[in-house]
């Protein structure tokens, strides 16, 4: 049950190279959801998340990767999210996670995506 996957493979990068990273998507997200900047990576969001209980889905890790400008496959990784908003309720830094997730999806699936991947 724990490792249930939704018909897609998770392929996160094996290392982070900040010199080739592209901060434009990150900046776009920070403009749309300014509260995202305040995150202190405590993990309360992923701890409370129902999707996290049953799958590998980890919203804390996803937004950490986004912050490190590692966008590879994140739109797939975000799929299990049900937008229930529990994470937003518990966040001690007042990050609007629901809005963050919706905006991440929008930015990542935009046909005119800024980093032209």
């Amino acid at each position: 049950m724990r490792n249930l996957k939704f018909g897609f493979a998770i392929s996160i990068p094996r290392s982070i190279n900040m010199d080739t990273a592209d901060n434009r998507l990150l900046k776009q997200l920070e403009e749309e959801v300014p509260s995202f900047k305040r995150c202190m990576n405590c993990g309360a969001c992923s701890a409370t998340c129902s999707a996290r209980q049953f799958t590998d889905y980890n919203i804390r890790r996803i937004h950490s990767l986004f912050r490190m400008q590692q966008y590879q496959d994140l739109e797939n990784e975000l799929k299990p999210c049900m937008l229930c908003g529990k994470c937003t309720l518990v966040c001690p830094r007042g990050v609007n996670l629901r809005s963050m997730i919706m905006n991440m999806r929008k930015i990542l699936t935009d046909p005119k995506r800024k980093d032209n991947e």
Binding site: S15, I16, M18, R38, M40, S64
Partner: protein
Amino acid sequence: MRTIAIIGAGPAGIEAASVLAAMEETEVLLFEKSATTLDNLRDKAFLFPDFSSAADLVEIMEAKLDRDNIKLHLSTAITSVVSTSSATEAGGIMAWELQDASGVRYQADAVLVTTGYKVFDAHRKEELGYGIYPGVITSIDLEKKLKEGKILNAVGDTPKKIVFLQCVGSRDEKSGNHYCSKVCCVTAVKQAIEVRKMLPEVEAYVFYMDLRMWGGGFEEMYREAQEKYGVRFVRGRISEAASTFDGKIQIKSEDTLVGLPLKMSADLLVLMVGMEPSEGTKTLTHQCNCADAYGFATTVNPHLRDNETAQPGLYVAGSCKRPMSINDSLTDARSAALRIAEYLK
């Protein structure tokens, strides 16, 4: 008339001198090994937690010495402190004799040691390249640049990326310092904000193991650094730094929050050097049998008698005891002055 000798004219020594000198029938001898007082403030631009000017604080502190009964001895390093009588002989009060580096002796009824700290010598962490690559600097070097109002990279251009590394020489078995230096986390946040104010285009990254925002307003400053100044925080300790062909600094770390190795090049790598006991502190604490494992001064009781040593009449205050901020050093100095006043009553 009673004479109190204070060793070290940093914030703690000056504060204690001014409190004690306000009492009647008192003379304070204040010794400073350097040619100027307050050297650890003079090399700073703005201070946490309120970004106030270090130069202004120096001026205010200097003015406190403007009393006839404070005798300031500059360029006078005290090398020895011994008690010359037993408590009973002197009617309950020990007599003390100090000696400076040129052999001159001074007598006092009580002694306060405020010999402070020195910064960790970053050359000792060879893998971080300080003294090898010009792009690697310390927080003290950056503070001087902030003071001059000019920050340039190794090849004389405006930097685009600045990386701060916490805990250099602190929390590190290899440096022999297991303790946390307490001031460097907030100093990195403060300096990153200042850099972003001065150079709004620069990207600032802080590599940390924990962010220790213990003081009033510190956590808020951290939030503001993220929210208002866009400073980026990465959890991981930089293991090594090397130079690239174009004078940049390539760093290796692990982003422990995502569990991936990380590489990055930056124009400047700023090492947040920790606090160690100054040479004067080490000499005097060892001589007076109150040195801890590092050479900081220990006291009789950390709660109730935190300025007293085992020897009556010998007191300690400020960052010669452990890493401390300025306001903690000043508070500690005032508390030591009160203890000394009670003792000499």
